[in-house]
Amino acid sequence: MGVTKEQVESSLTSKLKPLHVEVIDTSGGCGASFVVEIVSEQFEGKRLLERHRLVNAALEEEMKQIHALSIKKAITPEQWKQQQESAEPKSEA
């Protein structure tokens, strides 16, 4: 029983049309605890609370079985690009 990582990913993908989505099962396989990172245009112009509400809504069915959901990132493609650029080490050459 429980929810699989794939189920979480597919619900997020179909509802939020993310540019990037990463789901980590932190439950040790029982499907009750996940960490998610999502990059979606649908977050544009929305504050953090509203972004998290979108994610929660996308996982409404799954949330009935998930005990812990940690939304580590809910950012726009623009923010993602900026984060990646600042995270990348400068080329040495």
Binding site: R53, E60, L69
Partner: protein
């Protein structure tokens, strides 16, 4: 009007399935519960009971869940004035535990309210703690312990 109430009460008791204590807790989880106006009023009061209100699992002294613990730690780091803070232990009250989720339209616990307004859960508190917006909010609402004048 009163007869209708009486009739529906009869219907309810007639239609209510036999109480099975083994099943009931499971049903209450699976059912989509409608928030009764009584529960809603009770939560309204809870939310308004202090400027900063946290609905959590366990107590601030002994949180029963890592997310609740993290939330308490964040509020502590922010220097929230204990006199302006109240925590509700949802584990002590099943009605509250389910009701608060519907009330806030938020599926998880803990939940933070500041000045009657829903702020979010642990992830949001953590982000706001890191980017400084939580400190700003709490200062604006005047709920932090006043800075002591220089003495260590």
């Amino acid at each position: 009007m009163s007869s209708r109430t009486a009739v529906s009460a009869v219907f309810r008791s007639a239609l209510r399935p036999r109480h099975n204590p083994l099943l009931s807790s499971r049903f209450s989880v699976l059912q989509t519960r409608l928030l009764s106006s009584e529960t809603r009023q009770a939560i309204d009061k809870a939310v308004a009971s202090a400027p900063v209100v946290l609905f959590m699992k366990g107590t601030p002294e002994t949180p029963q869940c890592g997310f609740s613990r993290a939330s308490i730690q964040i509020l502590g780091l922010q220097g929230v004035n204990p006199q302006k803070f109240t925590a509700f232990n949802v584990l002590e009250d099943e009605e509250l535990r389910q009701g608060i989720k519907e009330y806030s339209e938020w599926p998880t616990i803990p939940q933070l309210y500041v000045d009657n307004e829903f702020v979010g859960g642990t992830d949001i508190m953590m982000s706001m703690h890191q980017d400084g917006s939580l400190a700003k909010l709490l200062e604006e609402k005047d709920v932090v312990v006043p800075a002591e004048g220089g003495d260590a």
